[in-house]
């Protein structure tokens, strides 16, 4: 589904650069041993930005839940309504969750709890890739 192209900033550039290399990375506070997403200037736990680095994750996850978007405010998505929006939790760090349209999964036929694998989708306006997730089991 065609999506708005995100414009990276200084903090998020490593994440988006990795997406363009088909890799999923998460910001990690080495001091707290804690991942967070989206990336921020400081760790939400300890408040320090001194120990933040980037860790590549497996790209596997599970579907925590979902809803269906019937009347979306984002213009480029409106012609595709209704569509699924699933919440994906990372296998490596279940506390982290991300959105997905679940390409290949019919609307309202979302298998909650199923395993998903990340893939990377090109957004039309700039070519920036973003993570998407596909059901594998």
């Amino acid at each position: 589904m065609p999506k708005q192209s995100p414009i990276p900033d200084e903090i998020s550039k490593p994440f988006y650069d990795a997406c363009n290399e088909d890799r999923l990375v998460m910001q990690n506070c080495a001091s707290c041993d804690r991942m967070q997403f989206p990336p921020q200037a400081a760790c939400a736990e300890c408040g320090s930005g001194d120990n933040l680095d980037w860790s590549e994750v497996s790209g596997r996850g599970k579907i925590l839940g979902y809803g269906v978007m019937n009347d979306c405010r984002v213009r480029v998505l409106q012609e595709h309504q209704p569509f699924n929006i699933a919440i994906i939790t990372l296998e490596d760090e279940p506390g982290i969750n991300m959105y997905s349209h679940l390409p290949g999964t019919p609307v309202e036929e979302v298998p909650v709890g199923a395993t998903v694998q990340v893939e990377f989708e090109i957004t039309p306006a700039t070519g920036q890739k973003v993570p998407e997730w596909r059901v594998v089991s």
Partner: protein, 441 residues
């Protein structure tokens, strides 16, 4: 006069702080509202600036004080409901001629500064303390309560306005572009807008505890009924149409399982309250309502969206903070007026507060009891955003008026129409600002 945002220290964010040091030192006395409109028609007299002036003057009059007794002003400088005044678009000439302007050309149209207000309310000759509580009325109440309790002001106006310009809510600006910057770049590509954050969570809630979306009907219908008894509200003023359970269940989906009636309607309107000390209130016209405590909860997200466990943890923390600082318990809470703009999250507040003993997973069943203003379990007697339009302040106005015994046709019947304690606040169960009210300390 330079006005600063309230420092973080003015919000009570932590558990374990004990009884609020301001308990017994701050009361609400006056309540004032402006008229409501669906959208601004670009005439000066219906601008949000004009409406905020009306609300302030009504609160002053309601309290029965002379304007020169007011020495404080706490407002939210943000007034937009979601539609923005286009950058570079000239403001109507009639507006500029009707008011004293500041350096910000949209002051009074789609923003509000204390300078603009003081320039345009000449009778406020003695204001020495001003502060911003950005967010919504729930923020400004916390800030003003803390300011009065700390002696920064003795008689303080608390003000919030909302402007609703032309265009569909939230559909312009960044949402209409092909690219996206800022924090929205992590959400907008997938489009989880409007009620989605709480509609998917409602699925998780019913998956965990059972129940269905249809069980929300009694709450939404009851809230609309209460709103139609709120003469200052949008629906009562413009479209006094009752809602039935059948209407609710048949409504179109916005973000399934959230339908049209699970959402509120953006409007133009303002409200103001007058806070002061109990000593000063003795000479005023209305009964004082004590602010027994205020509390703030802020989310610390790890991912894109809060999970059910995280939301339940947030509302539990909010409940503990409110009771700890006020000295109340769930069994001594008479009325709940927590936020409802979206309806699908109101139940989390009830459960976090353990209102009428309701625990996690029990709210949908509780909604099937008598939750009317006449019954033993009144829920959202203000009607909230559902009943009166999107303001995030009806619940505060109603809490004050209920405890003063002057909520009119909405007056709850508990204790012969004189409930003694109430709680209100929002906006979100994941994070917001909340106030506990009482007729005495």
């Amino acid at each position: 006069m330079t006005t600063q945002n309230a420092p973080v220290s003015m919000y009570r964010r932590d558990e374990g702080l004990g009884i609020w040091e301001g308990r017994g030192k701050v009361v609400a006395v006056g309540v004032g509202h402006s008229p409501t409109e669906r959208r601004w028609d670009q005439s000066p007299e219906t601008s949000i600036g004009a409406y905020m002036i009306i609300a302030l003057r009504n609160a002053i009059s309601d309290a029965g004080v002379s304007p020169d007794q007011i020495d404080g002003l706490v407002i939210d400088p943000v007034t937009t409901t979601g539609a923005m005044w286009p950058a570079g678009r000239p403001i109507p000439e009639s507006f500029a001629q009707a008011f004293h302007m500041t350096d910000n050309p949209i002051d009074g149209i789609s923003a509000m500064s204390s300078d603009w207000l003081l320039k345009n309310i000449p009778e406020l000759t003695n204001v020495k303390f001003t502060m911003y509580g950005p967010g919504c009325m729930s923020n400004t109440i916390c800030v003003a309560a803390q300011a009065v309790a700390s002696g920064l002001t003795e008689t303080c106006l608390v003000l919030k306005g909302w402007d609703n310009l032309e265009g569909r809510y939230g559909q312009g600006g960044a949402n209409a572009e092909d690219t996206i910057s800022g924090g929205q770049k992590f959400t907008n590509p997938w489009g989880p807008t409007g009620p989605f954050q709480y509609s998917w969570l409602f699925n998780k809630y019913t998956e965990k505890y059972g129940g269905s979306h249809d069980l929300m009907a009694n709450f939404v219908v009851n809230s609309k009924r209460n709103g139609l008894l709120f003469p200052e509200g949008f629906w009562a003023q413009h479209r006094p149409e009752a809602l039935t359970s059948e209407d609710y269940i048949a409504s179109r989906w916005i973000a399934k399982p959230a339908n049209l009636y699970d959402c509120d309607i953006p409007i133009t309107v303002a409200a103001a309250y007058l806070f002061t000390t109990p000593e000063r209130a003795k000479d005023m016209k209305q009964k004082p309502v004590y602010i027994l405590n205020h509390a703030t909860t802020r989310p610390r997200n790890r991912g894109m969206i809060q999970t059910l466990d995280e939301v339940e943890g947030s509302v539990d923390s909010t409940g503990r903070k409110l009771y700890e600082g006020s000295g109340l318990t769930s069994s001594s809470l008479d009325i709940e007026n927590m936020y409802d703009g979206y309806t699908l999250f109101h139940q989390y507040f009830l459960e976090g507060l353990q209102y009428r003993g309701v625990k996690h997973g029990e709210a949908l069943d509780f909604y099937q009891t008598d939750i009317s203003i006449e019954g033993p379990n009144p829920v959202s007697p203000s009607g909230g955003n559902t009943g009166s339009g999107r303001t995030r302040f009806w619940m505060h106005s109603d809490s004050i008026q209920q405890l003063q015994g002057r909520a009119g046709a909405r007056q709850v019947h508990l204790k012969n129409g004189r409930p003694e304690t109430a709680v209100s606040g929002g906006p979100l169960p994941t994070g917001g600002d909340f106030t506990m009210w009482g007729t005495s300390v």
